[in-house]
Amino acid sequence: MSGVRVLVGTRKGAFVLTSDAKRQRWDVSGPHFAGWEIYHVTGSSADSDRLYASQSSGWFGQVIQRSDDGGTTWQPAGNQFSYDGVPGTHQWYDGTPHPWEFARVWHLEPSLTDPDTVYAGVEDAALFRSIDGGQTWQELSGLRDHDSGSSWQPGAGGMCLHTIIQHPTDPGRIFVAISSAGVFRTDDAGKTWRPTNRGLHSEQIPDPVAEVGHCVHRLAMHPSRPDVLFMQKHWDVMRSDDAGESWQEVSGDLPTDFGFPIAVHAHEPDTVYVVPIKSDSEHYPPEGKLRVYRSRIGGHEWEPLTKGLPQNDCYVNVLRDAMAVDSLDSCGIYFGTTGGQVYASADAGDSWTPIVRDLPSVLSVEVQTLP
């Protein structure tokens, strides 16, 4: 019987939530790596038992954990992330040059075809790849070597590479997103990159339509339509129909177009989900009402989804990596909050139930649909 495994990274450990396909009763396992920040836990689509976790702490730095049995047991993998060559500098907050310094792994993205190949998006922004199951890591330095690299600047949360999207059939094409540099695309498996931010408009930078410098929070793609990308930017929800060559705003009638995560329905490539947040200085839902918004037509027109979600005095945030979907017949949607709740909907967002209510602050949510 098929089932679902929800992988949750929190400020103080990782949790694995499992259910059968009904998604009504959940087993909660954890905390794994108790006391450590778990920025991301994810699984390989080529081998659902292969999981990777980014474990870090201000005291003891970065650890990568790997599981070969679906999260029952874990083994530390390699944790040496050395920038290629002489790292050079990027811009610091005050505009001065600042040496590239590794801080942590924000996001792990396993290859679509090989469980031993996995990409890591790190702070300070760079892309690494392992082809030996996480034992060793090599930087794909063509990204940071882009002409604009020395001008990249951190946002308030640090300068992180947080989104990695692989083209489903063309192994040469990968999209990444960096806060706050923007979207970059490679068509040669990471050797060379170019920014793909045309159409983005950000009042928070000196040139609002600059080629580079936008604070992109998250990208999403449906694998059946890989030229269509959706973006939650610092402000604005955006859409590209030409693989990032150009972007159009689709915020439409959202109550606010600030937010962090964005996700696409597993079976309906024009059904998109966002969680509007009041503003960049008030990181909580407007009016204290936690609402997921769904568009059935790829943007512009959005409907609030509230059934089962708190509609009074709710002031949590939902971070960029903290929403995901399953691929069961009735698509499940999941998100975690900074208040420690993980909400699930087994009916594409029409109604919601908390799986768990009192975890540490949730940093990431990933979902595996199990055979």
């Binding site: 201000g58 005291w59 003891f60 730095g61 970065q62 650890v63 530390p76 944790n79 040496q80 050395s82």
Partner: protein
Amino acid sequence: MIRVRLPAHLRTLAHLEGEVQLHVAGQATQRAVLDALECRYPMLRGTIRDHVTHQRRAFVRFFACEQDLSHELPDAPLPEAVGTGTEPFLVVGAMAGG
């Protein structure tokens, strides 16, 4: 025999309980002790000191014999009581937070 006491998070990471006992050839120094520790427990590499520069991580401290040895040079001899195993070499996560 050198005795090394690790903080709880690193003991969990290395799947060990209690103190570590290490044979260190020659003079007992921070570098020699940490080299031997990382050789036996490779998962600790990068968690106490940098992989490449071997610089101590900022929020890690080294104590022994009621002294803070964090700022001693890596090749400075450790106290004799550490070298003989009378006193442990302590790797400590610095106090932080509120």
